[in-house]
C-alpha cells in the first residue's frame, strides 16, 4: 500500500476534495472542453486572456478522478497570471515529469511534483495530462474540444 501513497499523496486528496478555481468564469474569452474517451472524464476550462496572451484568470469544471481533478486544480493555480509561453513550457516539463522523462526541476515545478507518482501508472498519465492538453488547445486556439486519444 505504501507505493500507492506515492500516487495518492495527501495534497492530491486535498485538491480533490476542495479543488481550486472550480466553477465558471463570467464571459470567458476562451472555453475549451477536454475529453478522456478512455474513462469518460470531462473537464471544461474557462479563460480570460489579455491582449498579449497572458492568462488573466482561469477556472474549470467537469468531472474526473482524483488525479485529473487535482491536476486541474494545481494547474489553474500555477498558470493564473502566466504568459502563454510560460504555461506551455510548464506543460512540457510536467509531461516529462509524469512520463518519466524529467526530474521535475525548475520554477513552479515543486507544486506539480506531487503528481510525479503518476509515472509509475501508465494507465493514469492521461488523467494527469487532460487539463494540460485542454489548456494547450485553449492557448493555441485549436478548437472547442480536445481529446486525450
Amino acid at each position: 500500500m505504501c507505493d500507492l501513497r506515492e500516487l495518492y499523496q495527501e495534497v492530491i486528496f486535498d485538491h480533490n476534495r476542495n479543488p481550486h478555481n472550480f466553477g465558471k468564469l463570467q464571459n470567458p474569452d476562451r472555453t475549451v472542453r477536454g475529453d478522456n474517451p478512455l474513462c469518460g472524464d470531462q473537464l471544461t476550462l474557462y479563460l480570460h486572456v489579455d491582449a498579449d496572451g497572458a492568462i488573466r484568470d482561469i477556472a474549470f469544471d467537469g468531472h474526473g478522478c482524483a488525479i485529473s481533478v487535482a491536476s486541474a486544480s494545481i494547474m489553474t493555480d500555477l498558470v493564473k497570471g502566466a504568459s502563454a509561453a510560460e504555461a506551455l513550457l510548464w506543460f512540457d516539463k510536467f509531461h516529462a515529469l509524469v512520463t518519466g522523462g524529467g526530474d521535475g526541476g525548475g520554477e513552479g515545478m515543486d507544486k506539480l511534483a506531487v503528481l510525479g507518482g503518476v509515472r509509475q501508472y501508465p494507465m493514469r498519465v492521461k488523467c494527469a495530462t487532460l487539463p494540460w492538453h485542454t489548456l494547450q488547445a485553449a492557448l493555441r486556439g485549436d478548437g472547442a474540444t480536445v481529446s486525450t486519444e
Binding site: M1, L4, L7, F13, C39, D41, H63, C65, A66, R124
Partner: protein, 417 residues
C-alpha cells in the same frame, strides 16, 4: 436487489470450482504481491489450458491454408476449421453450419448485418430500434447505416431498475420498424433482457431481430432456434475462447438473400472480368484467409464448456453474484446500479466521493481486477446520470472468497478516500 443474507447463500455443492480454477493458468499469479482476483470477465475472460493447447497444437502440427491445397496439412486445417464450425452449430442449435459465419467478434457480426443486410434494404424514413443500454458496438453500426440510408435510429428506454421499458418498446416498434437490435445481456449492468417479448414485438411488426449475445454466451446455453431470432452474434474471447474469434448466426434464408460483405479470395466460385460468381454460404461472407487458429480455439472452447455444463455454470455464478449483492447491500456509501429481476454475473457500482478510476487503481493494488469507466455504454451512463462505474464481473471460476477479497479491497478504498 436480492435481500438474502450473505451467510445464507451457498453455491451448488456439486460444482468443483477449484478443479475449474486449475484449468486456467492465468488465475494462478500474484499482482502487486497479492493473489490475482480476476473480476473483469465481462471485458474478456481468461483461457483454459484446453483452449491454449488446441491453438498451440494446431500451429505445431496441422497448420496450412484452408479449402485450397490437396496436401495433407491443408486437409487437416480445413477439417479442424470446419469441424469447429459444426461444434459451434451444435452448441447454439443452429439448423445448419452454413448459418454460422466466422467473424472477428460481435462487433464485426453487427457491422456485417448492418452493411450487408440493412444497408441495401433500408429506405428514408424506415426505423431501426435499439435500446439505451446497448454497448456502443450495437449503436454505432446502426447510426452509420442510418446516415447512409436516411433511416431513423430509435432507442427503447431503460427503467431505474436497469430493465427495458417494454411499454415504451411496444410503442416504438411499429410499422416503420425494419430492424430491432438488442443485447441478450447488458454488459454494463448485467440485465438479462426479455428475449421472447422483444422478438415477438419485432416479428409482429415484420422487423428482423439482431441479438448481441457477447455477454450471454459465457453464462447461458443459447439456443438460437428456441429464441427464434433472425441474427445472433458473439465473441469467442468473452466465453473463454480466443480473441479475434466469433460467430454471426443468421437464418439461412436471410443470409442467402444478402450480397457479400467483403470481396476477395475464399468467397468466390469463379472470377472473371465479365463477372464473378460468389461462393455459397457460409464462405460467401468469409473473404481472405480466415483466423483458422481462432476457429480451432473456439471449437475447443465449446468442447470445454460442454464438459462442464452451462446449467452448472449459471447456478454457481448466480450464487456468487447473490453473495456479492448481499455484501454490497451491507457496504455503506456503495451504490449498485440497477436491480433487475434477471441479472447475469455483473455488478456495476459507484462509491460516494470516489471516482471509479480511483477505485480501480486501489483495487488493482489489492490484486483485484475490475473494469472502470463507461463500459462502452455512454447513453446508459447518461441515463443513470453518471459518467462511469466500477464493474465487477464474475466467471465460472470465481469464488465467494474472491468476493470477500473484492469487498476487503473496497474497504481499503474507503480508508484512503
Amino acid at each position: 436487489m436480492k435481500t438474502a443474507t450473505a451467510t445464507a447463500i451457498k453455491p451448488p455443492a456439486d460444482f468443483a470450482v477449484e478443479k475449474i480454477r486449475a484449468d486456467f493458468p492465468a488465475l494462478h499469479q500474484k499482482v502487486h504481491g497479492r493473489p490475482l482476483v480476476y473480476l473483469d470477465n465481462a471485458a474478456s475472460a481468461q483461457k483454459p489450458q484446453a483452449v491454449i493447447d488446441a491453438i498451440s497444437d494446431y500451429y505445431r502440427r496441422d497448420h496450412a491454408n484452408v479449402h485450397r491445397g490437396v496436401h495433407t496439412l491443408s486437409q487437416r486445417a480445413t477439417d479442424a476449421y470446419e469441424g469447429a464450425r459444426e461444434k459451434v452449430r451444435a452448441w447454439i442449435n443452429a439448423a445448419g453450419s452454413c448459418e454460422c459465419i466466422y467473424v472477428s467478434g460481435a462487433t464485426e457480426g453487427i457491422n456485417l448485418v448492418a452493411q450487408a443486410y440493412a444497408r441495401p434494404r433500408l429506405k428514408s424514413g424506415d426505423e431501426v430500434v435499439v435500446t439505451v443500454s446497448e454497448h456502443h458496438s450495437n449503436i454505432v453500426p446502426w447510426q452509420m447505416v442510418c446516415e447512409q440510408t436516411g433511416a431513423v435510429l430509435r432507442a427503447i428506454p431503460v427503467q431505474d431498475s436497469g430493465e427495458l421499458d417494454l411499454g415504451a418498446a411496444a410503442e416504438l416498434i411499429g410499422k416503420r420498424t425494419r430492424i430491432v437490435a438488442f443485447g441478450h445481456i447488458s454488459n454494463a449492468l448485467g440485465t438479462v433482457n426479455p428475449m421472447a417479448e422483444l422478438t415477438a414485438m419485432a416479428r409482429a411488426a415484420g422487423a428482423v431481430t439482431v441479438v448481441d449475445g457477447a455477454q450471454a454466451m459465457p453464462h447461458l446455453r443459447v439456443d438460437v432456434r428456441a429464441l427464434d431470432c433472425d441474427f445472433y452474434t458473439f465473441s469467442g474471447h468473452k466465453m473463454y475462447g480466443p480473441t479475434g474469434s466469433g460467430i454471426l448466426y443468421g437464418k439461412e434464408s436471410l443470409l442467402d438473400s444478402m450480397a457479400p460483405y467483403r470481396g476477395g479470395g475464399e468467397m468466390i466460385k469463379s472470377v472473371s472480368f465479365e463477372g464473378t460468381v460468389y461462393h455459397d454460404l457460409p464462405h460467401k461472407f468469409e473473404a481472405g484467409t480466415p483466423f483458422i487458429a481462432g476457429a480451432v480455439g473456439l471449437g475447443a472452447t465449446v468442447d470445454y464448456l460442454g464438459g462442464i455444463g452451462m446449467e452448472q455454470v449459471a447456478a454457481h455464478e448466480s450464487a456468487v453474484l447473490d453473495y456479492a449483492l448481499a455484501r454490497a447491500a451491507d457496504t455503506p456509501g456503495l451504490t449498485v446500479i440497477g436491480n433487475p429481476r434477471h441479472r447475469a454475473a455483473i455488478l456495476s457500482f459507484t462509491m460516494d466521493g470516489v471516482h471509479p478510476h480511483d477505485i480501480g487503481t486501489v483495487l488493482d493494488h489489492e490484486g483485484v481486477a475490475v473494469r472502470t469507466g463507461h463500459h462502452c455504454a455512454q447513453p446508459l451512463m447518461e441515463r443513470f446520470g453518471i459518467a462511469a462505474t466500477a464493474r465487477a464481473s464474475f466467471g465460472m471460476y470465481n469464488t465467494r472468497a474472491e468476493v470477500d477479497a473484492l469487498f476487503a479491497a473496497i474497504g481499503k478504498v474507503r480508508e484512503m478516500f
